[in-house]
């Protein structure tokens, strides 16, 4: 029952924060940090446990909580990031009104996500899923203004997804007479393929919407960019990964390996979707001028990698997908937090065209952002490299060069937009109005520091997380990977991080020595800069505006978010149609009487002529 008590404790704690926050303003922050940390601790202590408990009976369905390696990894990530972003929020939310509400919802989201990964049956999965949806909605709306349409988009997509999932669950229930995951995995083999595909489609809509797979991605960019930054970190880091979790659960736990990859065409469709999800948002991200929106598009693209990994279905790809989930959670959270720190210090500016030169003012944030971006690109010695390497390798060696092409070119696009992000915020000229910007406060630095450390740590020692992932994929029915502490051994090309590390270190030392042996350089300020012999006035010598202008010109004409446009157009159409529909209530009684009589007449007439009833 420990799981159940943990959830109860967390929910009670969330309410407590809200009500404590009304009377003792300071205590809510302490409470929030303590509760989230305790959650993290609880989950960490559950390592290696494997059991499930029945905690409730809902309309004749037995609801279960369950923990095993698979859900443990996700739960740990959730609680860990939740803890860090709550710490980050301490200063981010300090001056905001109504932050008890914020903390409460933040905990709600975390608990709901925890519930999702710990759910042992589909009904409680769904219930937590919905709690997550609405608390997320409240949090996205938190910043008011332009956040409102964003959260509307989110909640509508979310409702569509969750309802289709509900249908899927009930359909599955009709077929199998159970919703308990561990039982479903035994029974599912007796169902015919058509039904399985139908269920997979229904679930895929729900998970695809959360995971922002391409035709369902349109909620994500506005939602991520408008949410408060610590929450964006959660949103991008783990919330959308609930879709990943769902896909893994559906494909590998419920349906199982031996069925899912024998469904005709399904994997091909999913892989192609994943490829589109990688390429298209990457290029859209390059065109963005809002830091958080850029990161949001990047999130869509990276979710595409994860999706590619888990739908490709070899052990390398699944391991890579799960590992990339973990990595993406870390570095994208880090980047969102860094942008959040900037946003906090500049009082809410995140327009890439008006920032610049912050490296001189916020060097720590820059370092964090740089490490995050390196992870995002997947440079060697960061964690992103290993997971991407796994995915690429399996794509190439299993004869899917076009998918591999999508993944690789996505990486290059990633370089472009990450560099744009770094350049336009931190490099270049510092505008005069930001001369007095201060460094990020400690409560912001600490989470960033921890996350940066993890990125490097996992990058150098990928063996540690890969061992956990190995256990997960073994439980899916795969062969374990041959993991060493520093990499992966296999027949067709090894990966050995230690070589790269050693070489980098040695070369680095040599080059630095060589560099230092040269004549010492003079430090000059940013205004001592070549400008064809003139001294350029402040504010005039910056190239942050439309950084990739040629590419913009090149792409803008045909690269738009057509799907979003399509959705918006159809929403407008529906609205129009709805407006038309209610015109039948004309306001004149005679017509109402006519409806009544017509109804009666039609009933009688139909029955008399055709006797259908």
């Amino acid at each position: 029952m420990i799981l159940f008590y943990m959830m109860i404790f967390a929910f009670v704690g969330a309410f407590l924060i809200y009500f404590a926050g009304k009377s003792f303003p300071r205590i809510k922050e302490i409470l929030a940090v303590v509760i989230s940390f305790l959650l993290f601790l609880f989950v960490a202590l559950l390592y290696g446990k494997d059991f499930q408990i029945n905690y409730h009976n809902f309309l004749g369905f037995h609801l279960f909580l369950r923990i095993n390696m698979f859900s443990w990894l996700f739960a740990l990530t959730i609680t860990f990031l939740g803890f860090l972003s709550i710490i980050f929020s301490l200063s981010y939310m300090k001056d905001k009104k109504n932050n008890a509400f914020y903390y409460m919802n933040m905990l709600f989201v975390n608990i709901a996500m925890l519930g999702i990964v710990l759910a042992g049956d589909l009904i409680s999965f769904f219930i937590f899923w919905e709690i997550m949806s609405w608390s997320t909605f409240l949090l996205i709306s938190y910043k008011k203004g332009s956040a409102l349409p964003a959260s509307m988009k989110y909640i509508i997509m979310s409702i569509i997804g969750s309802l289709s999932m509900l249908i899927g669950i009930l359909y599955l229930y009709d077929l199998t007479d159970t919703t308990i995951i561990s039982q479903l995995s035994h029974i599912i083999r007796f169902i015919n393929k058509g039904d399985v595909i139908f269920v997979v489609i229904l679930f895929s809509i729900a998970f695809g919407i959360k995971n922002a797979v391409i035709p369902f991605h349109n909620w994500l960019p506005p939602a991520h960019s408008e949410a408060p930054s610590p929450f964006s970190a959660i949103l991008s880091g783990i919330l959308i990964k609930m879709g990943v979790y769902g896909f893994l659960l559906l494909f590998y736990v419920i349906i199982g390996l031996d069925i899912i990859f024998h469904l005709t065409g399904l994997t091909i469709v999913l892989n192609v979707l994943a490829a589109i999800t990688i390429i298209f948002p990457t290029f859209l991200a390059i065109l963005q001028n809002d830091a958080k929106r850029l990161l949001a598009w990047s999130t869509v693209a990276q979710a595409g990698y994860i999706f590619m990994g888990i739908t490709y279905g070899t052990e390398l790809s699944v391991a890579g997908g799960i590992f990339h989930f973990l990595n993406h959670a870390i570095f994208k959270a880090l980047m969102f937090l860094a942008v959040g720190a900037i946003e906090y210090r500049t009082k809410g500016i995140r327009d890439l065209n008006s920032l610049g030169g912050f490296i001189k003012k916020m060097p720590f944030t820059f370092a964090a952002m740089l490490i995050g971006a390196m992870g995002l690109i997947g440079l060697p010695l960061t964690n992103g490299f290993v997971s991407k390497w796994l995915i690429y390798k399996t794509l190439i060696l299993n004869g899917s060069p076009f998918l591999a092409f999508a993944a690789l070119i996505g990486t290059w696009g990633t370089i472009l937009y990450s560099y744009k992000l770094i350049h336009n915020i931190f490099l270049g000229q510092l505008p005069a109005k930001f001369e007095n910007i201060q460094k990020a406060p400690f409560s912001m630095k600490m989470p960033m520091m921890i996350l940066s450390t993890i990125i490097i740590f996992f990058g150098i020692l990928p063996g540690i997380p890969l061992q956990f992932i190995n256990k997960i994929i073994v439980s899916f029915g795969y062969h374990p990977l041959n993991v060493s502490l520093f990499g992966i051994v296999s027949d067709s090309g090894n990966l050995n991080i230690i070589n790269i590390l050693a070489a980098t270190f040695v070369i680095g030392v040599l080059i630095v020595l060589f560099f230092r042996s040269g004549r010492k350089s003079v430090r000059v300020d940013q205004y001592d800069n070549y400008a064809a012999g003139s001294f350029i006035p402040k504010e005039k010598y910056s190239y942050t505006n439309s950084f990739y202008a040629p590419l913009d010109r090149f792409l803008n004409s045909f690269l738009k978010d057509y799907i979003d446009i399509f959705y918006c157009k159809s929403a407008a159409l529906i609205r129009h149609f709805c407006n038309g529909i209610r015109k039948i209530y004309t306001g004149y009684v005679g017509s109402y009487v006519m409806y009544i009589l017509l109804f009666l007449a039609v009933l009688i007439f139909v029955q008399l002529n055709w006797s259908v009833f």
Binding site: K393, L397, G399, F515, V522, L551
Partner: protein, 312 residues
Amino acid sequence: MNILLMILSAIISLVTGMFFLGLARKIMAMIHWRYGPPIYQPLIDVIRYFHQRAVSHGFIFDLGIIISLIGSLLVVFFLPLGNISSFSNSGGLLVILYILILSPLGLALSSGESANPNASIGISRKLILTLSYEFVLIIILLSLMSQYQTISLQEIVMLQARKVWSFASWKLILPGIAYLLILPAMLGFRPFEIAGASQEISAGPSVEFGGKYLALNTINHGLLHFITIALFVNLFLGGGDLFGIFDSISGTFWGSFVSLIIFLIKMILIFVISVFINAVFPRLRLEQATKYILYYPLSIAIVGLIIVVAIN
């Protein structure tokens, strides 16, 4: 042994890189009907730079250029030079692709910190251009990897030695042509001298580089020439192998030496061709370059990849 190989390959690559820079200037001068500078002129330049009192714009300004050079040198270790290969067995082509990123990224960070708009424009151009030729390069590499069913460059070279050079195998002729077409862009030669356009944007990314920064940048430039061409030679021209003539002495010291020489000769050949192209073409605009790359080399490469995949 490995360390020795590393040092050896580093030295070879540095020397060859500087030699290439000088060679390029000399050949250009000769095409211009000039006498031209001595072939070691880049070395003199580097020494001069190194003794100048540079200006620095900040920590990343220093660090970026160092990262850039580290990246370039790292790639060298992953490339088999003839029979010499330090650790081409730890990640293969994918790692090379990734470490290739380091060098431009370090340069970009460094010049971004310099806060000069010319540098930013240069970086922006460089990245866009790189993106466009990377489309082609990735497809080329993918066709090779699919063809040989490995991601290890070492194995690709070995397989070539055993069978026949990639360029001579009809399946890989289209990727080879595509690689040749994007080679000037990868080397930063005209008609793709867009990022470092010295007349237009004052040498672009390196506008604020002087002194030792410029020295490192020049060395890096040479190394990049070396890497680009070495990659091509390894992928398509059979590395240090010359139609199997010297198979009898392979494995011995002389074998390695001969294969290294053959390798370098092949590289020089390719480089000279690229310099000729550089000499006779004017510069394209970025849009034109991107369009060109995305039309011709890309379509050729895609056709090549389709052929490779279809046959396998």
